[in-house]
Amino acid sequence: MKLNRRNFLLVSTAGAAGGAVGSMFSPLSWKLMDDSSVWSQNWPWTPVPLDGEVSFEETTCALCPGGCRVKVRKVDSRPVKLEGVDGGPVNDGGICILGLTALQLVYGPARVRTPLKRAGKRGEGKWVEITWDEAISDVSEKLAELKGAGQSKAVGCITNGAKGVTSALFARFMEAYGSPNHYWQATAWDSYEENIQRTLGLNGSAGFDLEKADYILSFGAGLLDGWGSPVRMFQAHSKWRENHDAHVTLVQIDAQLSNTAAKADKWLPINPGTEGAVAMAMAHVIISKNLYDRGYVNWSTTGFRDFFRTVQTEYAPEKVAKIACPVQKPEYVKKWTEELESRAIAFAKAEKPLALAGKGNGDRPVSQAELNAIQSLNALVGSINREEGGMVVIPDADKYPWPPVVLDADAKGYKPALVTTKGRTKYGASNLLSNLPKAINAQHGGLKALLVAGANPLYTLADTEETAAALQKIEYIVSFASQMDDTFTYADIILPDHIYLESTVDVPTPPGFAKPVYGLAKPVIDPVYKTKAMGDSIIEIAKAMGGTIAESFPWGGFGDAMEQAMNEKWNALDSDGVYVNEDFQPEKEGIRFRFFARAGMEDRISLQGSVEKYPLVITPCDTIRLSTGALADTPFMVKTVSDTKLKKRELVVQVNTMTAQQYGFKEGSQAILETPVAKATVLVHCSEEIAPGLVGVPRGLGHIAYDEFVGGKGTNYNTLISPVQDPATGFDVAWGIRAKLT
C-alpha cells in the first residue's frame, strides 16, 4: 500500500469512524453531556445560601425613630432576612423598605469594618487600619490636649437627635468635658415640641391618634412618604380604607401630587409655603360658619378674641387664594376657593377631625407661624387632647437616673455655645445644627475638634459648600459612622459603630405615636467586623481621659449605662424588647391652648433669590424609597427609585408641562438647574402633578461617598438650597429656594 494522500485520508477517516463508533459504545459523550448540563445549572459563581438551622430572633429596628419590632431569620448564625413582628405595638407585622434591606448595611461594601485613621489629605480616601486601643487613645489624647490648653469649648459634638441613651452619653461627655457645643439637626418634630411649649405650656412631643380620626387635613405631611413612623402610617392608611361604612377622609394640601396626595380623597394643590395661610383661611370659614367647638374654645383656650379678629379681617379665602392658589385664572381660583371652603366645613362637621403638619417625610422643621395656624384648626374643632382620634402630648421622659456628672473647674465655668439663637428654643442652641457651619466659618478657630456620632451633617445640612468649608476648618474630626458616609470623607479618625442588629440600642417613643412606647434593640447577631457600639466607644474615651470625665462614666460598659437609664422599664424591655404605657392619659387639667393671632401669612418664610433672576421655585419631593437622613438608602432601595426621579446617574426634576414648554424643554431634556448657591445638570420630567413655576427635586440622592450602588447618583437637594431661619426658633425652615432652568 502506497502511503499517498488519498490512502492517508482514507485510513485516517476509518480510524476516526472507528473512534466515533467506539464513543457511541463508551459512556464518554453521554457522561460529559450530563456533567455539562449539571455544571451549567449550578454555575460555580452563583451564590448558594448556606444550609443550616433556621431560627428567628426578635429585636427593635433602630434605623429610624419609627420603633418597629422586627425579627431576623437566621441560618445558623448568619442573618438572612428581616421581617416585621406580628403584634408589634407600632408596626404589627409590617416593615418598611429600609428595615427590610438592612442586612445590606451589615454586609455591604460601604460598611466601615475596622477603626481607621486618615493617611492622605482630606477627601483623598486614603486610610490606615488601626486597633481599637490605638483609636481610643488617639481621640482621648487629642481631647485631653485641647482641654489642657484651655480649649474645651472648641470641641463640638453632633449626634442624631437628643433622644436615646447614646445621645445622652455624648451629651454627658460634653458636659463633663466642659463644652457647650453639642448639636443635632432639628426636624418637624422639634418644631412640634416648640409649638407645644408655646401653645400648651407643656414639655412633650406630639402624638396623633390617627387610627381613630375620621377626617384628616394634611398640610403637606407625606403620610405615605415617610412621615412619622412609616409602617404605622401605611397601616393606618389601610385601616382608613378597609372600613367602607365609616370612610375616613384624607385631604392632602400640597404643592405636588405626592404619593400621599395620590392616595388621598382630595388633593388641594397650593403654592408651597402657603400652608399656614391656607389653614388660617380654613379657620376663617369655620369661625364664619359658626362651626367651631364652642365648649373647647371657651373653656380650654386663650387668645381666641384676637385670633378671631385677625382671621376674620385678614384671612378670607378669596384673599388667601391670591397667594396660595397655584393657578391665578379667575375660574380656577373660584373653584379652588369653593373647594377650600367645602373641605373646611366638612372638617369642622366631622366627628373626629385632625389637622397635621410636617412637610414631606417630616425631617425638616416647620415654621412656628405655620404650626400655630394648623394647630389652631385642631383647637377650633376640639381635637387637642380629645378622647379618641385627636392630638395628644406625650410628656418628655424623666431624666435618666444616672449619678450626677462630675465637673472640674473648667467644666463648671459658663461658656456660650458657638451658635447663638435669636429665638427661644426648648433645647437652647443644641438643635440649631443648621446654624453651626455659618458660625464656624464666621469665627476662625471656633471649633478645633468635632465628634460626629450617628449624624451626617455634610449631607443633611442645607448649603453643602458652606458645611464643607466649615468642616475643612476643623483640625480633628472623629466619626463614629458605621457606613462610609459623606461626612466620613472629612474625618481624621473613624471609630465604627455596630449596626443595630449587633448592638443594644434604645428606641424612644416614635414621632407622632399616640402612646408612650419604648423599644429596645438587642444584639441578635455577633459583630461581623471589628466594630464597637458608639456608647461603648465614648465610655472608653472618657475612661482613658481620666479625672472627672472618667468619674462621670462609672459604668463597666454601655449595657450597664443602658440598664440604669431604663430603670423600671428595664425588666419589660429586657424580656419583651418593648415597653408600652397602656395606662397613659394625657394631661388635661388646667391645660389651655393659646391662639396666636399672628399666624400664617405675616411670618411666611421668604426664600433666597430674586424673582427676576430666578423665576422658578424648587420644592422637594419625598418618597419612602429615598432615605434623606444621616443614613443613606441601601443599594436595594436605590434600585426601586423610579426613572422620574433618577435616570442612571442623573437627577430628574419634575416640571409642569406648561412651564417646560415656556422654557423650551421636552420630556427627558437635559438642563442646568441653577440656584443662588449652586447649580447642577438635571433631566426634565414634564408632568401635570406639580404646579406651574415649580421644580420638584427629589431628596435623598447625590451622596458623594458610600459605594458604587448608592454614591454618585443624582444631586443632593441640600447642595442646591441654603438655610432660612424661622424668626421664632432659629430652625432652618427653608421649604425650597428660587431657581432657574436653562
Binding site: N7, G22, P27, S36
Partner: protein, 265 residues
C-alpha cells in the same frame, strides 16, 4: 502477450492488492480508533474526571453506632423537622472534649486498627476541638441547591421501603427484628463503597475515598460507581432519574409530570 498488456495486467493486480491493503489498513485504523475510544471512554476518563480526596478525619461509623441509639442520635432532625446533615463540632464535643480512647498496646492483635482509630481521634481533638473549628466533611450525598429533599418524609413514609424484588416502594415489607426501622431506612440509600464493596454507612469502619467530579463538583456517589450509568441497586446512585422512577410511579400511576415539583420547588 505483448509487454504493454503484461504491464496492464500487472497494474490491475497491483491495484487490487493496493485496494486490499488500503481496506485492511482502514479496518485496522478503525479498530484502533474503536479501541482507543473505548479505552479512553471506559478506563481513562473515569480516572481523569474524578479527583480522589480523603476525609479530614477517618471516621468509624461502626464503633459509634455501638455507643449511640441509632443514626438520628448524631444526624439529628432539628425541632422544625429539617435534617441537620453531618454533626457539628458542638455535638461531637459532648463526648470528645478530650481524647477518649487510650493508646493501643502494640501487642494487641488488632493493634493496627486500634491505632488508626486512636490517631483519628487525636487528630480530631487537636486540630478541630482545640481550635473550635468545624470539620470540613466532604458530603457524599450532597445534591444541587435546586433539589429539595426531605429526609423526614422518607424516613417516616410507609411507602419508602425495599420490596422483595429489590426495588423501593409500596407495599411495605417487614424489617428484621434487630433493626431499628429508621436506621434501616438510612442504610437503604446511604451506602459506603469501600474497595468495591457496598457497606451500609452505619456499619462502615472507615470512610470511603471521596471522588469529586471535576466538572460538576458533586460526589461520584450521585452518578454512581458504574460509569455507564446503568445501576443494579437503588442505592447505587442518586440522580434525578432515580428519584423520578419511584415518584412518578407513586404519583398518578406514572401518568403525570407533577413528580418534578416534589423536588424542584
Amino acid at each position: 502477450m505483448s509487454g504493454p498488456e503484461k504491464t496492464q495486467q500487472n497494474g490491475a493486480t497491483h491495484k487490487k492488492e493496493d485496494s486490499a491493503g488500503v481496506f485492511a489498513m482502514s479496518l485496522f485504523a478503525a479498530g484502533i480508533g474503536l479501541y482507543v475510544s473505548l479505552f479512553v471512554g471506559w478506563l481513562v476518563l473515569p480516572e481523569l474526571l474524578y479527583s480522589k480526596q480523603h476525609q479530614p478525619i477517618d471516621f468509624n461509623h461502626a464503633i459509634h453506632m455501638e455507643q449511640v441509639d441509632g443514626c438520628t442520635d448524631c444526624h439529628v432532625f432539628r425541632d422544625d423537622g429539617t435534617y441537620a446533615g453531618a454533626p457539628t463540632l458542638s455535638q461531637c464535643i459532648d463526648c470528645h472534649e478530650d481524647v477518649q480512647s487510650v493508646e493501643p498496646d502494640p501487642e494487641d492483635e488488632n493493634y493496627e486498627d486500634l491505632m488508626k482509630q486512636y490517631k483519628a481521634e487525636v487528630k480530631f481533638v487537636e486540630e478541630y476541638v482545640a481550635n473550635d473549628k468545624e470539620v470540613p466533611w466532604l458530603i457524599y450525598a450532597r445534591q444541587p441547591d435546586c433539589v429539595f429533599f426531605s429526609h423526614a418524609a422518607h424516613l417516616n413514609s410507609e411507602k419508602f421501603k425495599v420490596l422483595e424484588d429489590g426495588k423501593i416502594g409500596a407495599p411495605p415489607v417487614e424489617f428484621e427484628d434487630d433493626e431499628e426501622p429508621e436506621d434501616a431506612r438510612c442504610n437503604m440509600c446511604h451506602m459506603a463503597f469501600i474497595k468495591g464493596e457496598a457497606v451500609p454507612f452505619g456499619e462502615a469502619e472507615s470512610l470511603p475515598v471521596y471522588e469529586e467530579n471535576r466538572i460538576t463538583t458533586y460526589s461520584r456517589d450521585i452518578w454512581g460507581r458504574n460509569f455507564s450509568g446503568f445501576n443494579k441497586h437503588y442505592y447505587d446512585s442518586a440522580k434525578m432519574d432515580d428519584c423520578a422512577q419511584c415518584h412518578n410511579d407513586q404519583r398518578n400511576e406514572g401518568k403525570s409530570k407533577d413528580a418534578c415539583f416534589v423536588c424542584h420547588k
